[in-house]
């Protein structure tokens, strides 16, 4: 169980907003950071900062050790076979782009296809559109129903011998639903296609074991799992990474450079051109430690309890539309909703004045909102380890008040 005291580990939650207690309900956009993460980053900058992998002196060696130690933590967190399977990136978006550019250019050709779902975050849509234009492959989109379930029949038909990749979210950042990755991976692998999972949300909210997941690539976002912004990761098996050409060129990713050409460093460093975000990686490592202490199973249970509670409370209000499943067991800690007669932007502004931070808009998932739900914008509340029932109560009371104001 996760106790309400966890909230005390997050200094920002002590802030008052417009004189009110702060109820932060936008963890799907980014999570707040525990003191241990803030401290680890602070300590690194105070005591260990040096360019990693480059200096022969003590400080650089220590910095390198800490940076590579963070890689090991991330690897263990998702049960990777080795830390060599973790490439640090800026965020989940860059991890997906890395696959699209480096792996895509080498493996997807004219006449091939890539399959994604309509439920994807823009970061798992736009790179595939961009590469599709460059490489002339077909982008196939699988439907999702109003309960947030992927049409597996259609998907099975869309995956052909010319399918090179199936790229799906591990958890929708709007509906919270979690596609059956193992099933999808079986379908894809049968036809020789690889599978990319956008784990920006799933890795932050449910236990992840890449040995069982079935995916070939997993995109990870640091700032959505209590880590700092500016750090993310791509997981892929070492053999797969080794077949891929580099993504960006520059320092660190090479073994030897002459004026005519260069040879590549080993993986994963081959994909980490330039001075990396070492302090970010150290922060992410500390976030992983923190989550592991809580236990991801507990994190998931905690959020499901909150979802069940919030759904029950929201449904007592009149004129509420909830998007996605109404069964808390079928989703992660996020609820998209609308209030009749109150535009989500107005709602978000009014809630802010009550100290409640929610998201309003399209949540970077315009195709899902438009094609499946025929709306342009919704309100969204989302949870993390520090969320409490009191946050939800405060939000629901603020919604009622907003409706009175707009009534």
């Amino acid at each position: 169980m996760i106790r309400a005291m966890v909230r005390n580990d997050f200094p920002i939650l002590r802030r008052r907003i417009h004189g009110k207690r702060f109820a932060y309900l936008d963890s799907t956009a980014t999570t707040q950071k525990p003191l241990s993460v803030i401290r680890a980053m602070d300590e690194f900058q105070r005591k260990y900062n040096a360019n990693v992998h480059r200096g022969i002196y003590t400080l650089s060696e220590e910095a390198t050790e800490l940076y590579e130690g963070a890689r090991k933590k991330v690897a263990q967190f998702i049960h990777a076979n080795s830390e060599r399977e973790i490439v640090f990136t800026r965020n989940a978006t860059e991890a997906i782009n890395l696959v699209a550019y480096a792996w895509g250019r080498a493996n997807v050709h004219e006449g091939d296809n890539v399959v994604i779902s309509v439920m994807e975050h823009h970061s798992n849509i736009v790179p595939w559109q961009m590469m599709g234009r460059e490489l002339n492959y077909e982008l196939r989109i699988t439907d999702v129903d109003a309960a947030g379930l992927i049409d597996l029949r259609q998907l099975e038909q869309q995956i052909t011998k010319r399918t090179k990749l199936v790229a799906v979210t591990g958890m929708s950042n709007v509906l919270g639903t979690m596609p059956p990755i193992a099933n999808i991976a079986r379908m894809a692998h049968r036809k020789g296609a690889l599978v990319l999972v956008d784990g920006a949300q799933s890795v932050a909210h449910v236990p992840t074991d890449v040995r069982k997941l079935g995916a070939d690539f997993l995109a990870i976002s640091g700032h959505k799992m209590l880590g700092p912004s500016g750090i993310g990761a791509l997981w892929a098996k070492q053999e797969l990474l080794e077949t891929m050409p580099p993504f960006l060129g520059g320092g660190d990713m090479i073994r030897e450079v002459t004026l005519q050409s260069a040879t590549w460093n080993d993986v994963p460093w081959k994909f980490e051109a330039g001075t990396p975000n070492a302090v970010g990686a150290i922060g992410l490592g500390a976030a992983v430690d923190y989550l592991q202490k809580l236990g991801m199973g507990n994190v998931h249970k905690h959020e499901q309890t909150l979802v069940a509670y919030a759904l029950k409370k929201l449904r007592t209000l009149k004129g509420i539309t909830i998007y996605g499943p109404l069964d808390a067991r079928k989703k992660g800690g996020v609820i998209a909703f609308n209030v009749d007669g109150v535009h989500p932007h107005d709602l978000a502004t009014l809630l802010d004045r009550e100290g409640v931070a929610i998201r309003s808009g399209h949540h970077c998932a315009q195709p899902l909102l438009r094609n499946v739900f025929n709306v342009m914008a919704t309100a969204r509340m989302s949870f993390s380890v520090y969320t409490t029932k009191r946050d939800i109560d405060q939000c629901v009371a603020a919604i009622e008040k907003a409706r009175r104001v707009m009534g």
């Binding site: 009014l350 802010d352 004045r353 309003s360 808009g361 104001v405």
Partner: protein, 121 residues
């Protein structure tokens, strides 16, 4: 402060937008969307002798978008073209009686932007 932003005047113009609808023979018109949230506004004008003889708007969106467009139509009706072309975002703040802040500027100024586009400004 929420209630301060959502003043009577804004709520009133949101619920009962003025000049809401379409003109039969507009001389100028434009449509704009706020791609961030899907709010949209169409402005129609009938300009005669360098004056705004008639104005109408339609669209959908949040209270700030609708109210500011509505207030704007009230403000420009009967005015000279020259005066209308001088209108800026500060005038919208004045009409709303409040500065909405960076998160909502796009909503507050959508009507004005649409009007400017209609007038080829």
């Amino acid at each position: 402060m929420g209630e301060e932003l959502y003043k009577e005047i804004i709520l009133d113009h949101h619920k009962n937008p003025r000049h809401f609808g379409t003109l039969k023979k507009p001389t100028h018109q434009a449509h704009l969307e706020n791609t961030l949230c899907g709010d949209e506004v169409t402005m129609q004008l009938k300009v005669e002798g360098l004056r705004i003889k008639d104005v109408a708007f339609s669209g959908s969106g949040c209270a700030i978008t609708i109210a500011s467009a509505s207030l704007l139509t009230d403000a420009v009706l009967g005015k000279s073209l020259a005066a209308v072309k001088k209108l800026g975002t500060k005038d919208i703040d004045k009409l709303l009686g409040v500065k909405v802040g960076p998160a909502r500027e796009k909503c507050a100024y959508l009507g004005l932007e649409t009007l400017c586009k209609a007038l080829g400004k």
